[in-house]
Symmetry: C2
Amino acid sequence: MPLTSYTALQTAFAADIRGAANRAHIGKIYRASMEFLAKAQREPLRSLIPNKEYFAFRMGTKLSRPVNAALFVKRTGEWDKLDNALQRKSLSKLNPDQVTRIIYSVAMAFCCFIDLTKDRDQKTPGTFFEYLIGHLFASHLGVNPITRIQVLNLDMETWLPTDFIFDLGKDRPKFHLPIKLSTRERIIQVFAHQRVIDGVFGTERFLGTPVILAETKRSVARRDVTEICVPDQCRVYQLHMAQLKRLYYLDVPATYEKLNHVFPPIVVKSFGHFFFEADTLSA
Amino acid sequence: MPLTSYTALQTAFAADIRGAANRAHIGKIYRASMEFLAKAQREPLRSLIPNKEYFAFRMGTKLSRPVNAALFVKRTGEWDKLDNALQRKSLSKLNPDQVTRIIYSVAMAFCCFIDLTKDRDQKTPGTFFEYLIGHLFASHLGVNPITRIQVLNLDMETWLPTDFIFDLGKDRPKFHLPIKLSTRERIIQVFAHQRVIDGVFGTERFLGTPVILAETKRSVARRDVTEICVPDQCRVYQLHMAQLKRLYYLDVPATYEKLNHVFPPIVVKSFGHFFFEADTLSA
């Protein structure tokens, strides 16, 4: 059962976020989810996004969220490749697209399992995605994150709760890592948190590198899949609120991809790239 | 039926937001909601907030959101006093606390009607509250709001969707009016929108005056009422993100009240004060 391993992950997660034990739990959750999904039907959806195909898993009357057909890998053995690479601390046998597909599939398999077995449960998929990305980021950087930072300011002393913060040590930038299943029109929050951190600690002390699963939405009545994006607003936020170093997606939205080509650009990439550029980002 | 008048308000609202026709619809919704609630029971709740008492309306198995006993007026005739005062453009016979109680009661009566007749409907109460506050603000200022502003910036031209914006004309500040039933830990959004507007148009061009109903929360299992507030974070946002001119509440949270007394202060007031200080704010 995926939920047995998920409970084990929940219990173990915080003790050593980057630890191999967490990755072992994630692997078990993934395999159990795929075993469950093997019994479900795959129903094609009508994609309104150019050059992307989506399907949903069906079981009885329940239909899962949309799954990107090109990103969802069939064999769970792919995960073992990433697992081994992280264990060996060398991803040289993999490439960014492959890593993106593996992580997308692990995230999506568990999300769809929850979609087919629970009612309106958004919290469990969201928390699992935080565990998954938080662990992979920590494992690759070799550092455990913190989730709050101290604000000392003349007569004021307070703690600011944050998304994951990775401190690589003196004279190196720190990472600020918001993790979301989707942001839609709430993407302003990601820029807002970056703004506060820039304001409190100074610009460029923290690199903002949010990781988001996708911006897809399936219309309830019909089988249509769209992406809810606000590219013009993102440009205004990047100019007037705070600068994100990267906007990582597992399923990069078509309209956000174009933000790479405006000036000044917002660098939007699939998350697999992180594992091949992390050293240069933090140099 | 409250919903008949609500549908009429929805249809009419945008045509002339400050118009007396909207206030007539609001009055009908309020009276119909109170007639409905007269058939419901009032069930005391256990308030964990010092010096505040709350009850909920009950009908069958359904229980409404928490209602502040001291703010919820019994007689619908109170609304007519505010209605007449706005018509005459003189609130001299009223005081801020009285105005706050009237508006609180109108908002809460319809919210509780929806709580007792619908399942999980958060959208209708939220939209009604936007209509109510948007109309009252517009009526008092004598100006209709807009909900998007144009960003012109060298080679960039785009529209930024906003909450209500009131333009009082050249050489006077404009109002930026976010309207929310509650914000809880999402209050960063209010500061974030102000930051974007300050960034695009310059500081102090727009006065940020959010109006929020309450921050109360009833625990589902028990009958406890608490307020979800993040005062320390608000201070950090006010210092490092953007300055709000006022934080107006209908039911001012106890811990936010204290923000008036820290330095630098955030001015938190009950919304009734707006009608007596709007001239000096925009001077």
